[in-house]
Amino acid sequence: MTAQQIIFLVVGFVTLGSALMVVTSHNLIHAALWLVSTLFGVAIIYTLLNAGFLAVVQVVVYIGAIAILFIFAVMLTRKDMRDQSPQLNKNWWVGALLAVVTFGGLFFLLQSWSGFSRTAADLPSGFDAIGRLGEALVSPDAFVLPFEVASVLLMAALVGAVYLAFNRK
């Protein structure tokens, strides 16, 4: 086993364990903090895959913005911030079943892919991953259309939020 595989296994278990704690923790703030731990684990997996840019963006966007806003929302909407409520309702087994089925389906699909059991090749030295990503996002024969569609969607959400919050005097 290489060092990378050991790190992957450790990080994978920590990520999965934290994800389990997110859905079973009785305290909503604790659940949000476990979510932070899960997202951090995903960022480390990105790093193991040589995707440093995605790893940092994962931390900036998901931990720095989304998880913090989750915590804010919980703190602003709950009367007592230490309340303990049952986290699972009676349909919990449906969710668990769906998760297992999704995992099994993905596993089955990916098994037929040739790269499934190969280890990742090292990037050639001097490979400008960020430059390539940036070019791919704006080049017409790559992802310019999805990129622009996503931008328009976010813009619409922004305008909608401003409209809802706007206070006419």
Partner: protein, 412 residues
Amino acid sequence: MNFWNDPLKVAADWSMEILTGWGMPEVGARVLIAFLGVFLLIAVLMVLDIFLVWIERKVVARFQDRIGPNRLGPFGLIQPFADIIKLLIKEDITPTGADKVVYNIAPMLSMMSVLILWAAVPLAPVILGVDLNVGILFLIAAGAIGTLSIIMAGWSSNNKFAMVGAFRQVAVMISFEVPMLAMLLIPTVLSGSMGMNSIIQAQYPIPFVLLSPLGALIFLIAAIAELGRAPFDLAEGESELVSGYNIEYSGMKFGMFYAGELLHAFTFGGFWSILFFGGYGLFGLEKIPALMWLNNPFINIFTLIAKAMIGYWIIMWVKYTMLRIRIDHMLAFNWKFLTPLSFVLLMMTALLNVLLRDGSTWLYISGMFLSNVLLAWTALEIARTYSRREREKVEGSKHSLGAVEGVAEAHH
């Protein structure tokens, strides 16, 4: 390649030889050496932190026309050690109803979010933890962990002052992150890279502060807000919140927050110098043939530390001379003034950079500089007009209110 030109590599090779000579496997030796390197960096930073306490106290004393610590040792230099001993032997109190695990993790995360920044700081071309190709985003990512630590501290203390302080601080941090990120993109646009080392090297011979003085200023404002120092220290707000998010912490746990804040201020001084003042470079002096000996890692480290200290001094200067701003004013200042201004500045810089870069150097510098000045003036004029109208509205309504009261009094 001798010790004076690349000390880290020589030291690493030397320890590698010794460790493998003792029969250690090469992978294990490499991990151990990397660990020792990290340990050394953190140890140096923590010792520096102790002296930052002394510097901060001395500088604030001078600003307030006092002498500052002067009893223990020459110039009071031993005072910070006495402070640390005091912090260490203080009783460690955990409030009832506190969430123990979260309460104890928060100060560690706070310190970590500062120390982790130094992994990407190039002290010299060859002395750096790692030359990340996303170095600039790394700064924001570490800031995210700092935000998290504050909200954890505020919530887990089970104290309403701590809670309100944390709310305010986090509101400030996530809003000022937006102009800060936009200003971090200016060195990226100008240098064509996100790596710290390439940004520094792109600033020869023109430091980016000449190309984007407004960008440097906005970055400084956003950095001070991110630090939660005056005029943005309403999370601390002694007169209303006592101390803010860290009110329940005692002893060394409070010390971690305090030392973390000082080191953070110094670190932002360092980033300011890296992004806009050429980092470890000496403004082109080191490229003059007679002064080639300045291209030494030790001189580079000294240069960067000196520039970071100047940045830290400016941050202190602002802190000890400005008044606290009210939270709604501060958020309005960010969202209605600083954020639009920084986006306009970013777009203008990107456009002018492409248009002027290939022309003559003097035209490039003066064009970029003057466009920044013009933009700053326009923004201030718009803000002035807007605020005058607001003030007239408020004063006008007060007037009419006063008139109504006068009429009521006359009736009586």
